[in-house]
């Protein structure tokens, strides 16, 4: 339901999104090992995505049934895509490396 929120919360979310982006760019500059980088960057990006969906897209303030209808299918499909493709990508990498 559209309750009235102050604009302050949006500016706070914006600040955190910019701060997390700055952390990501700093990590890229530091050149950590590739697996650590991937895990950290994806973790930070998921937090940013959750902030955008919850506050900017207002999903937190909608009826819970809407979020429960939209999000689980999306997450399941993405997890399936990753689970099917990444082990095969690694297999090809090992075959080509030698």
């Amino acid at each position: 339901m559209s309750e009235q929120h102050g604009n302050r919360i949006y500016l706070t979310v914006w600040f955190w999104l910019l701060a997390l982006t700055a952390v990501e760019v700093f990590l890229a500059y530091k050149q950590l090992p590739v697996h650590t980088m991937l895990a950290l960057l994806m973790g930070l990006s998921l937090v940013k995505a959750a902030l955008i969906i919850a506050y900017f897209m207002h999903l937190r303030f909608e009826k819970a049934s809407l979020a429960w209808t939209l999000m689980p299918p999306l997450v399941i499909c993405i997890v399936l895509m990753i689970a099917f493709s990444f082990p095969d990508g690694l297999r090809l990498f090992d075959m080509r490396k030698g």
Binding site: V25, L41, L44, I53, M57, E62, S65, P73, F86
Partner: protein
Amino acid sequence: MASQATAWEGGSAPYAVPSKKLGMWLFIISDALTFSALLVAYSYSRIANPNWPTPFEMYPAVTFSTIMTFCLLSSSVTMVLAVSAAHRGERGAAVKWILATMAGGLAFVILHANEWLHLIHSGVTPFHNPWGAPLFGATFFTLTGLHMTHVVCGVIYLGIVATGFGRGRFESMDVEVSGLYWHFVDLVWMFIFPLVYLMSVHMG
């Protein structure tokens, strides 16, 4: 709790949102899956190729893509301000914030087009590049190209909504629905930016 149960059992509005908003959400979910597929395709090719190119220097490529990220994030804030002004009935303020959002989107497109031209001048084509795995160009241009198309369509969409809302033909819900689309485009970039740029920094 009781009213929620009856809604699930076929009440008139189980999600308590207007049909336009539900329609946009359903479109966003399907579009999110399209982008997920392209991101997975990019990552698959990257993992499978030991000679994947890492052509992005901290300056200019990463610096400019960070500025592009800033443009999109800030345009999302101006968009929520437009939506809240629209719901308060301040048409003039809402139109002004939508125009600011469009400016952020345009800045993004101009910077990104510049980045594309830079890569094209370095000899990157969809199936060839000077550094290594040939598929780099195909996956990069498809992924970022589809995203850029979404930004361009978004700017046009917002232009139509701003004109219509300013003239009183659209209601505040139309502004909110266009805002959902715009935030989604921003959201997708939050994954393209780290996976494509930050994971491929070239330290000379």
